[in-house]
């Protein structure tokens, strides 16, 4: 029998990777269906539009529920499959802070996501502006983690890894795909090392696997 959860996924898509990481860390049973995003743009074809009219990846189906948008899927998975309630904190301030970084991931980090797609697949966009926007976003993250380290904290929010860390990790870890090195972001270098050591962590193409 098929598991209740199905992820429509493209391996080189960083938003799909966000959801794959969450599934690997929370370990609910699930199936993955490969969608040919490049060059096929299969997510915009009628069969996939019938499932997700937005024509985007990833898409998660869990029983009667169909969700698009990496941030929404992450929030749902945390609510549904993280009984310890650490990935999406229950307290109002922690919840708000994590939502803030999820919003940041969907807005400020869009530059990094588009810059990477352009570098890998020649998608349209202003290369200089996208890279500048990505660097600006990484600076905001590095400034934040610099201040967090002064408080002895290792994570973006609270004292445990949360969806904030999970959603921010891929764009920074993949930044060399579009020519932004990690040289200028010392606090983020320390943070991604911590994140890589989490149980269930695995890499995707573009993120070194130190075996």
């Amino acid at each position: 029998m098929m598991p209740a959860i199905t992820l429509y996924n493209y391996d080189l898509d960083e938003n799909s990777f966000r959801v794959r990481l969450m599934l690997a860390m929370l370990k609910p049973e699930h199936a993955t269906i490969a969608i040919d995003m490049f060059p096929g743009q299969e997510q915009t074809r009628p069969t996939m539009l019938a499932i997700n009219p937005q024509g985007t990846l990833p898409v998660l189906v869990d029983g009667d529920l169909t969700l698009a948008g990496a941030e929404a899927i992450l929030a749902y998975l945390a609510k549904a499959y993280d009984p310890a309630r650490t990935w999406l904190p229950e307290d109002a301030a922690g919840f708000g802070r994590v939502q803030g970084w999820l919003h940041f991931s969907a807005t400020m980090l869009e530059n990094a996501k588009q810059a990477r797609l352009q570098a890998l697949f020649d998608t349209p966009g202003d290369e200089t502006a996208l890279r500048a926007g990505a660097r600006k976003a990484f600076r905001i993250m590095d400034d934040h983690m610099t201040a967090r380290h002064f408080d002895g904290a290792d994570w973006f929010v609270g004292d445990k890894p949360s969806l904030a860390d999970l959603t921010l990790f891929p764009s920074f870890a993949l930044s060399r795909d579009f020519g932004i090195d990690h040289d200028e972001f010392p606090a983020l270098r320390l943070w991604i090392r911590k994140f890589r050591a989490l149980p269930g962590f695995f890499t995707m193409p573009g993120i070194p696997d130190y075996h």
Binding site: F150, H182, D183, E184, P186, A187, R189
Partner: protein, 236 residues
């Protein structure tokens, strides 16, 4: 090779954990800064002789650093010792990464990029330090130095007026109130400069709030420098 007379700061000591590496630039030349698992810091040219891959993308194993591409392993002298594709090969002595003299002092890792630089002492006092941060500013080295000499750094403790004393090219002590801040500048590339900030004082006084205070100043300083339309040197 790179022409530099003095010691160049390349990272805060605390930003480089044992068994890790980081890339950086001095005058546009790529360097890898890495720390072996025993804790010793090394600064090399950031280039694997095999295919030119940045060594800073690689990984540290004990006292070797390995290239991410094909796993070629180099010892702390830069000598290639092991090539995974040819495990029984006695690696030729000619396969070597150019190395520089590295030293750690005052909370900072420094590199001497010439023999002349390596002979001099690092012009920084020993004593208790509290790291603040490294900050990368999109302005040339000289413009940043000019702005630093006129910087009005708010004190964390005490109320003496701020002043900046240059102790070597690109290295200075900012005094403000009762606080002393070591500011070491790294000429990153022609348009970008890195500042490495360390408080000369005790963790008891500066840990947490004091660190945040000076980190926030550094971020404000970066914003000010990057948003001015006229060269800062002319504003002063």
């Amino acid at each position: 090779m790179i022409e530099h007379k003095g010691w160049i700061p390349v990272t805060l000591s605390t930003a480089l954990e044992p068994g890790t590496s980081a890339g950086t630039l001095v005058g546009g030349t790529e360097l890898v800064v890495w720390r072996d698992t025993k804790g010793a810091a090394h600064v090399w040219e950031d280039r694997c002789p095999h295919r030119g891959m940045r060594m800073s993308f690689g990984f540290v194993r004990g006292d070797h650093i390995a290239c991410l591409y094909h796993g070629w392993q180099y010892d702390t002298a830069g000598q290639c010792q092991y090539i995974p594709a040819h495990p029984t090969l006695d690696v030729p002595k000619t396969i070597k990464v150019p190395t520089y003299t590295a030293a750690e002092k005052g909370g900072i890792i420094w590199a001497a990029l010439s023999a002349e630089a390596a002979e001099a002492a690092i012009p920084v006092e020993d004593g208790e330090v509290v790291p603040v941060r490294s900050i990368y500013i999109d302005r040339p080295f000289e413009a940043v130095l000019a702005a630093l000499r006129n910087a009005n750094i708010p004190a964390f403790t005490g109320d003496a007026a701020p002043r900046f004393e240059t102790i070597a090219d690109g290295i200075g002590i900012a005094s403000t109130g009762d606080d002393r801040l070591l500011i070491a500048c790294q000429p990153f590339n022609p348009t970008r400069t890195a500042l490495h900030l360390v408080i000369q004082g005790s963790a008891e006084t500066y840990g947490g709030a004091g660190q945040k205070h000076f980190a926030r100043w550094a971020e404000t300083f970066r914003l000010m420098l990057e948003t001015v339309s006229t060269p800062v040197a002319e504003m002063a």
